[in-house]
């Protein structure tokens, strides 16, 4: 903690003060958690009856099915979004204005429209049929556009010497892009790409709004069952834990890749990481 801009290394007096703050902080935290636990207990959320349903076999299969639906939307959406992103990143980097301008327009367009509205357009406006298709279409177009920006920023952040050298060896434009620039860009942008995939995973929960039978949808259904004592609070906790676990797993994977990248010599040290800004704000 010595390397903070705002705070000096504490002397004896400051250390005493910090200890006092820590005591106050712990007191406030304990009071807050205590209040929450008290409210949970007082409203009967800790009653065994509210949690018993978790043991039922068909509840577990329902939840697993729902989890699979979430993961399925995520996987299909992620693959399609990567493809979409790669195509439109290439389009944005094209030398031909006829290709570049429409590609940029499409990317800007889908980044500006809220994902909910996109999904509604596909589901209610166009009527793609099963909610799954609308969810995947929305996830693909929105996250694909963001990924296109990430890929583009990755290619642009490579040193010019890379493409110049490739041209000098006699490669064609397509070869330079696919053999030299893209592999390096994807490697450098891996953490950013995975952060965007975390966003995609979280956004798959929007399927709830159009009755796609994913985790939240089933949570609403199970939470309303009278025989289980309407366990809305317990099921929210369970679903939140599942989501947090999945996202942390992905994040951990991103960190792992970044660490491995830093060790390997194949990745160029980039001066600036423009894509970090694209993704830092990935909400």
């Amino acid at each position: 903690m010595s390397a903070s801009v705002l705070f000096d290394i504490p002397g004896p007096k400051a250390r005493m003060r910090y200890r006092l703050y820590a005591a106050i902080g712990i007191a406030v935290l304990v009071a807050g958690i205590g209040f929450v636990v008290y409210r949970f207990a007082a409203s009967g959320q800790f009653d065994a009856a509210k949690w018993e349903w978790l043991q039922y076999k068909n509840v577990q299969t329902t939840l697993l099915d729902a989890l699979w639906n979430t993961v399925r939307a995520f996987l299909v959406g992620a693959v399609l979004a990567m493809v979409f992103g790669a195509i439109f990143a290439a389009g944005q980097l094209s030398d031909h204005k006829v290709v570049r301008v429409p590609a940029m327009a499409v990317v800007e367009l889908f980044r500006a429209v809220p994902l909910v509205v996109l999904i509604f357009i596909f589901h209610y406006g166009i009527g793609l049929g099963a909610p799954f298709y609308s969810v995947v279409a929305g996830l693909t177009l929105y996250n694909g556009s963001v990924l296109a920006e990430v890929f583009r920023a990755g290619v642009l952040s490579l040193p010019r010497g890379q493409s110049e050298a490739a041209y000098a060896v006699g490669m064609r434009k397509t070869q330079v892009m696919t053999l030299v620039l893209l592999p390096q860009a994807v490697r450098a942008m891996m953490p950013a790409i995975i952060s965007q995939l975390v966003v995609l995973l979280k956004d798959s929960a929007l399927g709830f709004l159009i009755t796609y039978e994913e985790l939240l949808y089933q949570a609403r259904y199970l939470g309303g069952i009278f025989e289980f004592g309407r366990p809305l609070v317990p099921i929210t906790i369970v679903v939140a834990a599942i989501y947090i676990a999945m996202c942390l797993l992905l994040t951990w994977f991103a960190n792992y890749l970044e660490k491995r990248n830093r060790r390997s010599k194949k990745v160029l040290e980039l001066e600036a990481k423009p894509a970090e800004d694209v993704v830092a704000a990935a909400v």
Binding site: V5, P10, T236
Partner: protein
């Protein structure tokens, strides 16, 4: 065009509610996010741990789930009485849409502010102390001006995302631009055209913000 003009009584309040949600949640999350960032860089370990815990939980939870919690589960805890809102369900849901948006976005605001502070090299603070500046002078004339450059562009992206996220409230009984189309279908209007107007509304709002953000980013990145 007809769909928009014939249903201005839906579109007007819908767009206004979206902007209201956005402005209040933006103010709230900026304040809460900055407080969280201060917790996360504070020299007291327990504050850091609390801040980190909050950010980790909220950042890895879908916003839809946060809404879900406040719309369905939270009332069961009976912490707040619905009667406090004059018994009006709309006011209740609007308030909790605001709370959900604020809590969720503040986690991202916190990360932006924290990484902004971290971009200022420690040497800057050391040098200003060596010059004899007080803590306030150091913060006001050395650290914050430099941190702002790193904070403002990503913060604008976060705010753009917040603006778009307000539409999620459509699934939770809050009337705003996201729910216009659901009401349109009751009137037998063409939903596709109705939704395209909503999309256009967001494009008009978001694209200028994006352009401004990019120009700021470009102008300020040179100085480093």
């Amino acid at each position: 065009m007809d769909v928009l003009l014939d249903n201005l009584d839906l579109y007007g309040p819908g767009f206004l509610n979206t902007i209201e949600l956005f402005l209040i949640a933006a103010a709230g999350s900026l304040v809460l996010g900055t407080i969280l960032a201060m917790l996360r860089v504070s020299p007291v370990p327990i504050f850091r741990a609390a801040g980190t815990l909050y950010v980790t939980i909220l950042r890895n939870t879908p916003l839809t789930l946060v809404f879900f919690f406040f719309a369905f589960a939270f009332p069961l805890l009976k912490i707040v009485d619905a009667a406090d809102f004059g018994g009006s369900a709309a006011a209740y849901y609007f308030t909790f849409a605001l709370v959900s948006l604020t809590l969720y976005t503040s986690a991202f605001v916190c990360e932006v502010v924290r990484s902004g502070i971290n971009t200022v090299p420690v040497g800057q603070a050391e040098a200003s102390r060596a010059l004899g500046l007080t803590f306030g002078q150091m913060l006001g004339s050395i650290v914050l001006p430099q941190a702002t450059r790193a904070v403002v562009p990503p913060m604008m992206s976060t705010m753009i995302a917040l603006l778009k996220n307000t539409t999620i409230a459509a699934g939770f009984s809050v009337f705003q631009s996201g729910s216009i189309s659901l009401n349109l279908s009751e009137r037998g209007e063409n939903q596709l055209i109705g939704l395209l107007w909503v999309a256009l509304f967001f494009i008009i709002l978001v694209i200028p913000m994006t352009l401004l953000q990019r120009s700021l980013e470009k102008r300020w990145s040179i100085a480093r």
